[in-house]
Amino acid sequence: MADLSVEFCGIKSPNPFWLASAPPTNTGDQIMRAFDAGWGGAVWKTLGQPIVNVSSRYSSVDYAGRRMMGLNNIELITDRPLDVNLREISEVKKRYPKHALIVSLMVESRREAWHDIVRRAEDAGADGLELNFGCPHGMSERGMGSAVGQVPDYTCQIVEWVKEVANTPVIVKLTPNITDVTFPARAAEKGGADAVSLINTINSVTGIDLETLTPRPSVHGASAHGGYCGPAVKPIALSMVASVAQTVKIPISGIGGIASWQDAVEFILLGASTVQVCTAVMHHGFRVVLDMIDGLSSYLDRKGLSSVQELVGLSVPRYQRWEQLNLNYRVIADIKQDKCIGCGVCYAACYDGAHQAIAVRPNDKGRSTVEILEHKCVGCNLCSLVCPVDDCITMKRIDSFGEERLPWTEYSKNPSQHPHVRSNRHDQ
């Protein structure tokens, strides 16, 4: 059995699965139940100045008959009194000394305010601090949350203030609502952050009630932009985590749409050394972690790895810039006729939506027999993506252009020299 325990910028945790700062970490009672269920760590719901929340706060996007592919919220930071939270933090830490307990913080951009909240969180027993520079609504209008996270200089400045007094590791939680997430990531590192976590929620409107014309969620006939999370945001989060992994040296806690062990492994492969989860728990409860733990552990065993640490970042070198990809590599679609059920979905996709590289004819069962026109197939994958049958369309390699690697950087020096420029013009 592989070792699932991790040490994340000095914070020890029995496994890499943490609850993200959000409603599942509102109270000590919840966090203790989560630890009992198997979670390795938790980031406490963001502490800060007192706020009030609106009623009706969430809305969601269902997809293909399944609920909550994406979740949107207009909730703020904790609405419970600071001293109650701090008391519960001490309590949890005392009862669960081996679990990771991180406290998320967000206060106005004043040095003293940050010094004060950092000291209080650490006095309560926090193993680490997470600075919430990501919240996209409500707080940002008051110059906090993503308003800080979107300006690298502010980010750097506040991290420096925090580091002046902090004795525990400082994690900076980044907002995805920015053109290039590597800028604030670098700023956080420069300011002295011990780690970064990402992503927080993405600006969103999930939909509009077509009868009342009110965007969701409705607060007395109106709404505001919310923060999007859940399975729908995972691809965006993965790409941001990967870019940050290539930019900074400090560890990364990956967040965004993680609902299964496979999702978690993907974040870890792209450089995260812990992962945080919110929506999956808001949907299904704490018990989802059981499959995450079992699945990760079996995966490590299957891969012959003895610890999670060995997995971190293994896919990062394979995440490259487009211009580094080999232009001499070519694949074309290959249909396994014995698996094909004759739906013609691939044909419609390729004919109308791609490169007209599939031929179709009706067969004696009244269905479609499809065939790849190899000379027209550009190897885009589309047919294999739409085909409803597993492994029915696969992409097979053809090496018509030779073995030599040819990245764009080389190619662009002398395009006319290269054979497939000609061969791609087969239509003429």
């Binding site: 409860g285 079992d294 699945g295």
Partner: protein
């Protein structure tokens, strides 16, 4: 009633009423072909394996309920939502671990459990949807685990103490597996040639074949469970010998044979014990398929055993099958879904029927292949009288409840009506003897025997073995 008329086919080697024609002596239907046809019909699975796509789609329908009703309805409390989620996340090995940690015979339970009245019957998705196919999903996971030779259990660190287990049925196997997990040795003594109990010899063929049941037992043997087959306790080895070899004894002998019905002609060849009949079919006994082919069969009983007998007789090639029950429809104890299955197989229900006499002579090339001349019975009339009828039956099968294993009467424990008296923890009146499964309940399901055998193992560990102390 069968109303199918057979037309000898014009096409060479083919026929349009496959399977019923031999009743009328269709010349185009070679004997050998009939036999293999009926064997296949008998084993055609009621719920075939799910493909990976089907399993994933089905798994993703599950709601991962809180305090899930399906889990509560399972006597072994398998964490159903968790294992289904594990299938959904492409972790069938993890799913199997979840299943097997609660129910060591999860592979056979996936096939034989009456899920309609257990987990699937409790699933919250009933009215607007269809219940999740928990049985087939469980099979998907355990099939995977068997195929990749995943470990079925992890033995506990060895401790001193040994248990003699009588009977390698579900109860005995579950008890042995649990003891092994706790670190204790046991030896199972099994009278039959093969282990598995009714899982191997009794469960309807279209639910599970003996091959699957035996493969599951082999999986346990690989993990360290010890079984001595062909050893009848009380005959090949005495109870006192067993007591001297082991610190505790577990009784898992089941309920034995089906009792006689005390009527004339009952001893004629051509009158069968339902369990022997099922076992012979499941063995693929050539003679039984031959005598059954086209035969008119009268089955006596009204419980699940009787239902299994009629459905299998019909699928196995009988020409006509009657189910004789002494009371009315409402009193039939067989599950409604199994009754439907029997009716689909063309079985005719004869209610308020009391068998009086099996009519001779019995004729046939051998006793096993003999047919009787009919069955005389009385039909109870609403006024309390009775009307005599004669069914032109070729075979008569007794399929009323089992009467209690032979050994049970010889045990130094309290016994009541052929059943061993034991509490919910498996304790009998004798502090060294523990018991579970059918021999205590009088006959329930495989999954109950598994749950109770496991529970008894824990009791034995706590109350007897734990007190011996020390590592082995």
């Amino acid at each position: 009633m069968h109303s199918i008329q057979t037309r000898p086919s014009k096409r060479r080697g083919g026929c349009t009423n496959f399977g019923t024609c031999q009743v009328y002596g269709c010349a185009n239907f070679p004997d050998m072909m009939a036999e293999s046809f009926h064997k296949k019909a008998l084993a055609r699975e009621l719920r075939p394996a799910l493909s990976k796509d089907e399993a994933l789609a089905e798994a993703n329908r599950c709601l991962f309920c809180y305090d899930a009703p399906c889990m509560k309805a399972c006597p072994t409390h398998i964490d159903v939502p968790l294992f289904i989620r594990q299938i959904g996340t492409n972790n069938p090995g993890g799913a199997a671990r979840t299943i097997l940690s609660a129910n060591i015979l999860g592979a056979s339970c996936a096939r034989v459990c009456p899920t309609e009245v257990l987990c699937e019957g409790a699933c919250v998705l009933q009215d607007q949807h269809k219940p999740i196919q928990i049985g087939p999903l469980q099979r998907f996971a355990t099939d995977h685990a068997m195929a990749v030779h995943q470990k079925i259990l992890t033995p506990g660190s060895p401790k001193a103490g040994s248990v003699g287990i009588i009977g390698a049925g579900p109860a005995g196997l579950s008890c042995a597996a649990e003891l092994l997990k706790l670190g204790y040795q046991s030896v199972i003594y099994e009278a039959a040639e093969r282990p598995g109990g009714l899982n191997t010899y009794g469960v309807a063929q279209y639910k599970m074949t003996p091959e699957v049941a035996l493969a599951e037992v082999d999986w346990l043997i690989d993990a360290g469970v010890t079984i001595r087959c062909g050893v009848t306790v009380g005959k090949d080895i005495s109870l006192s010998e067993l007591e001297s070899r082991h610190d505790a004894i577990f009784i898992g002998v089941g309920m034995g044979a089906i009792p006689g019905i005390h009527i004339d002609g009952e001893d004629l060849p051509g009158v069968w014990d339902g369990l022997d009949f099922i076992a012979a079919l499941k063995r693929g006994d050539r003679e039984i398929f031959e005598v059954l082919r086209g035969a008119r069969v009268a089955v006596i009983g009204g419980g699940n055993t009787a239902i299994d007998v009629v459905t299998q007789a019909s699928r196995g090639g009988a020409g006509k099958v009657w189910l004789l029950y002494r009371r009315g429809r409402e009193q039939l104890s067989a599950y409604a879904h199994e009754l439907e299955l029997a009716k689909d197989a063309g079985v005719e229900l004869v209610l308020h029927a009391v068998p009086h006499r099996v009519l001779g002579p019995a004729r046939g090339p051998s006793p096993k292949m003999s047919r009787v001349s009919g069955l005389e019975l009385g039909r109870k009339l609403p006024d309390g009288g009775e009307k005599l009828e004669t069914l032109p039956a070729d075979l008569v099968i007794r399929a009323t409840g089992q009467k209690g294993a032979k050994l049970t009467a010889e045990l130094s424990v309290r016994v009541d009506g052929g059943k061993v008296v034991a509490d919910a923890l498996g304790r009998t009146s004798n502090p060294r003897y523990f018991a579970a499964g059918d021999c205590v309940s009088g006959g329930q399901e495989v999954v109950n025997a598994v749950a109770e055998g496991q529970r008894a193992a824990r009791t034995i560990a706590e109350e007897v073995l734990g007190k011996l102390g020390g590592a082995r």
